[in-house]
Amino acid sequence: MSKEFKVLYFASAKDATNLSSETISFPSSNPSSISLQELTQILKSRHKKLGKILEHSMYAINMKYVEIDDTSIFVKEGDEVAVIPPVSGG
């Protein structure tokens, strides 16, 4: 079985993907860890409408916010990645 990570979609990202969540396998080129730049490319290629939303979103990895262009962060096997559009609670 290939290694996987999970992606959660909320609000406008959920509308754009028509998904609450999905499980994605690591690419054969990077079988156990990808950068956030690779993550963004993978998500964009899977969901046409998501590109524009990602420009204004953050990621949360295992419920911790990371900037979408943080080059020091990698997604690893079993991670839970969330696409977090601008929040509007209250």
């Binding site: 909320f10 609000a11 406008s12 419920m63 916010y65 559009p85 929040v87 509007s88 609670g89 209250g90």
Partner: protein, 134 residues
């Protein structure tokens, strides 16, 4: 003996009742209680619930590092909230009034900025996700 619970965070589709949330933060030593609640026109809320709980508990912990507080409750409603009902209630008790007054203001701002919660306004010609201004 277990420490009595002092922080209360809930994301719920239930109706939020101010008095019940004030009762959570009541304390013999608490002279002052400040509350903030927001009522809405019809809105839909959704949340990344476990992360929102974590973010709000962290925000409460930061609030406690700034002011001397007794008990803190943050309740946020999810799903469809009918007109005139509460979407969020914060209640904080403290010995001195300045502390709960300042802390409520700071904590509602933290919630709006950081908690992964989204509201959707429902118009006759479609819905639109809102964005909090910082």
């Amino acid at each position: 003996m277990t420490e009595p619970k002092k922080d209360f965070v809930k994301l719920t589709t239930d109706v939020l009742v101010l008095q019940e949330i004030v009762d959570l933060v009541k304390d013999n030593g608490a002279g002052a209680i400040t509350t903030f609640n927001k009522t809405v026109i019809k809105l839909d809320y959704e949340s990344y619930i476990p992360m929102a709980e974590k973010v709000l508990l962290t925000s409460i912990s930061e609030t406690r590092s700034k002011w001397d507080l007794i008990k803190v409750a943050v309740y946020h409603r999810l799903g469809t909230v009918p007109v005139g009902e509460n979407s969020v209630i914060i209640a904080i008790s403290s010995v001195h009034r300045e502390e709960s007054l300042k802390a409520v203001e700071w904590l509602i701002n933290q919630l709006k900025e950081k908690a992964p919660i989204w509201k959707k306004e429902i118009y006759s010609d479609g819905s639109v996700w809102k964005e909090n201004k910082h």
